[in-house]
Amino acid sequence: MHPKRKLKLYWIIALMLGSAAIVSLVLYSLKQNINLYLTPSQIQSAHLKPEQLIRVGGLVVKGSVYHYPDSIKQRFVLTDNKQNLTVIYEGILPSLFREGQGIIAEGRIDSSGVLVASEVLAKHDEEYRPPNITADIL
């Protein structure tokens, strides 16, 4: 083969291998890192794999927040006004966390059906409702 053509061929092969590697890397990581977004009533029918990371949106039930003494662990109940879900979170709640407020908790469902949250997100607007909830309640 003409050396110039040969070089071109190498380039093309290298590019194809490179892009194949990148595409598979990207798709693999995407598959690993998708967090499903659910409401408390969708959880039962969701057929979650054990240890699957999910995000649950709901309103914090008034009077449900309990602080464990001498720790930063707390328990509260999320609702979409149809189903309730108990959440346990060890960490600092966002400043905007309040009872009756819409929040998103990210974590895993344990064997007793409690969401063990690794992160709690609150939204800044007091009129804010997590998506789905707005559609479901109003």
Partner: protein
């Protein structure tokens, strides 16, 4: 004049600007086609007129904010008479309508600058460029007037006071971050307009790259500054010590930055070697399309985020249609005319500067695509009704970091390469020496500092030294533009060091404390001395006094606050940070717990400043390149 009429003046100026923009589209294009000189010259004047009209419109809205004119709905929704003056001014771009007004105002300023500082550009070309810019402006004027009028009134029932600015935005960050970011976004429209004008005329030569490069560099500097300021703001403001969250809105600003970084590099090849023309043109189109996409993502309300305020679906539809029109139209024009851009490609070998800049472009472009995929994937799934989901930051870290490793490696090789070809033999000896040097340094420095060495720390430190030393090794050619490259690349090295060390060696404690408790974080001892009530201009709250000691020596008293804003009744943590070049101490007050206890976050973050310092170096490099070019 009756003060009640002043906001109408702003709206009237906006409508006039729309009319002028239509004139600036029709006559210059017609003139360029038929070679009618007065029609073409008209564009230069109308560009200045649009800038003047938009100045009136913008400052009218600012005046409404400063004078507490709550008859304007937008002011009533986003300001309050208790709000400090500086935030009343910055509140102009604190929400949807005003931020778009700022967007198009900055566009008219860029347009006026093009009209004033382009004496050497042929009139036919200039008139087309200004017409294209005017099309974009017209789209935004229409968007403002039809869906998001910032001057809409609440008459005759004027509210007594406003609903206040979102507390999260009441920070010096609001004053700098959005205008800088928008200057960058909008600035890429100039390179875009250059490409479209060149495609219209069917002539895209190296002169085109020479003209558009300074504009692109300025836009890139602004965008870099906007991103740096945004990251610094998030770090201070959000109270969990992070500086980048791979949040869709952050990605929206990062996407045009990646494309823009590729563009400023490929423009060099187009200008100096008259090569890669079609690719550079494509990048310029991508870059501006991504800027528009960024505006769309943030302003349409499709994202759940702190940044997304618009919820009116018509706005999203309008922006989406506009986006489709701009991207579709420009890509169609590109497809139709790209054949005219074909260049006879000069031969270059793998170690040539062309090949290095090409690899830079490929990697940056692929990195941009992976971020784009992760950002749009949840939106697509939601839109198709398949699932509601989010893509977490591990995805971005997993795909983005491995792509950066070859990029950083090549950044060290590139300064040694010449145009067309470099003998691999000449490169070998100095590069191997350098490789040994940086590996030894990356092993020795953590050892001297007495910290545990992780593999990733070693790789990233070695790469950062590799970039910096290789850039410095070639400063025999002392042109200012070359110094620009050296400075910007050292900036990348500084940022890489900052990210690596702050990620690997930060220490963090989230805990419950009562007055009198102490805790050790990093080398520092923190003792909660007191908690007091406090009252600010438009908020009240609690302030803690934290005594920080190192080796039983007082370092500083820190005062983190928890503020509750009077009007919106929302709470916001105000972090207390002791910043220094080599480490930050960071304390944020969380929420009250049982029995006088409060939750607190305490961080020790080494080298975190370097992340933003590197960004400033990159900007400085951009400025050197710009000034160096002007001197020639």
């Amino acid at each position: 004049m009756n003060t009640l009429l002043i906001p109408e003046l702003g709206k009237f100026a906006l409508i006039l600007a729309l009319s002028v923009s239509l004139v600036q589209i029709i006559f210059p294009l017609w003139g360029a086609e038929r070679n009618i000189i007065p029609y073409m010259k008209l564009a230069r004047i109308t560009a200045l007129m649009q800038a003047a009209l938009m100045s009136i419109s913008f400052f009218t809205l600012a005046y409404a904010f400063i004078s507490d004119d709550f008859s304007v709905r937008y002011v009533a929704e986003n300001s309050n008479s208790q709000l400090p003056l500086i935030y009343r001014f910055a509140a102009v771009w604190g929400a949807h309508e005003g931020s778009l007004l700022l967007w198009v105002y900055l566009l008219t300023l860029w347009m006026a600058a093009v009209s004033l500082f382009s004496k050497h550009i042929p009139l036919v070309m200039l008139s087309r460029i200004l017409a294209v810019l005017s099309m974009i402006a017209a789209g935004f004027y229409l968007f403002l007037l039809l869906t998001s009028d910032p001057f809409a009134r609440l008459l005759p029932n004027i509210p007594l006071n406003g609903r206040d600015l979102n507390p999260l935005l009441q920070d010096p960050g609001l004053v700098i971050h959005p205008p800088m970011l928008y200057m960058g976004y909008v600035g890429f429209s100039v390179a875009f307009a250059f490409v479209i004008a060149a495609l219209m005329s069917g002539r895209l030569d190296s002169a085109w790259a020479r003209w558009s490069r300074p504009w692109t560099l300025i836009a890139w500097c602004f965008l870099t500054y906007g991103i740096v300021a945004g990251s610094w703001w998030a770090y201070r403001e959000l109270g969990w010590g992070g500086w980048w969250f791979w949040d869709p809105v952050e990605n929206a600003s990062f996407l045009p930055w990646l494309a823009g970084t590729a563009l400023i590099h490929s423009l060099i090849v187009t200008e100096k070697r008259n090569a890669f023309k079609a690719w550079t043109a494509f990048l310029a189109i991508c870059c501006f399309s991504l800027s528009l996409l960024g505006t769309f993502l943030v302003r349409s309300g499709v994202l759940i985020s702190v940044h997304a305020f618009a919820t009116d679906p018509h706005r999203g539809e309008f922006l989406l249609a506009f986006l489709m029109l701009v991207i579709g139209g420009s890509l169609a024009l590109y497809a139709w005319r790209a054949r005219t851009l074909k260049t006879e490609l000069h031969d270059f070998n793998f170690y040539s500067r062309e090949a290095m800049l090409l690899s830079n472009n490929i990697i940056l472009f692929v990195a941009m695509l992976t971020v784009l995929l992760g950002t749009l994937y949840p939106l697509l799934m939601d839109e198709l009704g398949l699932a509601k989901l989010s893509v977490g930051y591990p995805y971005f870290n997993a795909v983005f970091v491995p792509l950066m490793i070859p990029l950083f490696f090549l950044m060290g090789v590139a300064p040694w390469c010449h145009w067309r070809q470099t003998e691999p033999r000449i490169l070998k000896a100095p590069l191997i020496k350098m490789l040994i040097l940086v590996c030894v340094l990356a092993l020795a420095l953590p050892w001297i500092a007495g910290v545990k060495l992780h593999l990733m720390v070693f790789i990233m430190l070695a790469l950062a030294f590799w970039i910096a030393f290789n850039s410095l090794a070639q400063i025999k050619r002392r042109s200012l533009t070359h110094w620009g490259m050296v400075t910007a690349h050292i900036g990348v090295a500084i940022t890489v060091i900052g990210i690596t060390l702050s990620t690997a060696y930060s220490e963090q404690r989230n805990l419950s404390m009562v007055v009198g408790d102490s805790v050790l974080v990093g080398p520092y001892q923190f003792r909660l001395e007191s908690l007091n009530d406090m009252i600010g201009p438009n908020y009240h709250g609690v302030v803690a006094t934290m005594r920080v000691e190192k080796n039983h020596q007082l370092v500083e008293f820190l005062h983190p606050e928890q503020r509750i804003f009077n009007v919106s009744k929302t709470a916001k943590a105000n972090t207390a940070i002791r910043a220094s070049l080599f480490s930050d101490i960071y304390v944020a007050l969380g929420t009250p717990l049982e029995k006088e206890a409060w939750s607190l976050r305490i961080y020790y973050k080494p080298f975190v400043r370097w992340i933003w310092l590197g960004g400033l170096f990159m900007i400085l490099g951009g400025i050197f390149a710009l000034v160096g070019k002007r001197r020639k």
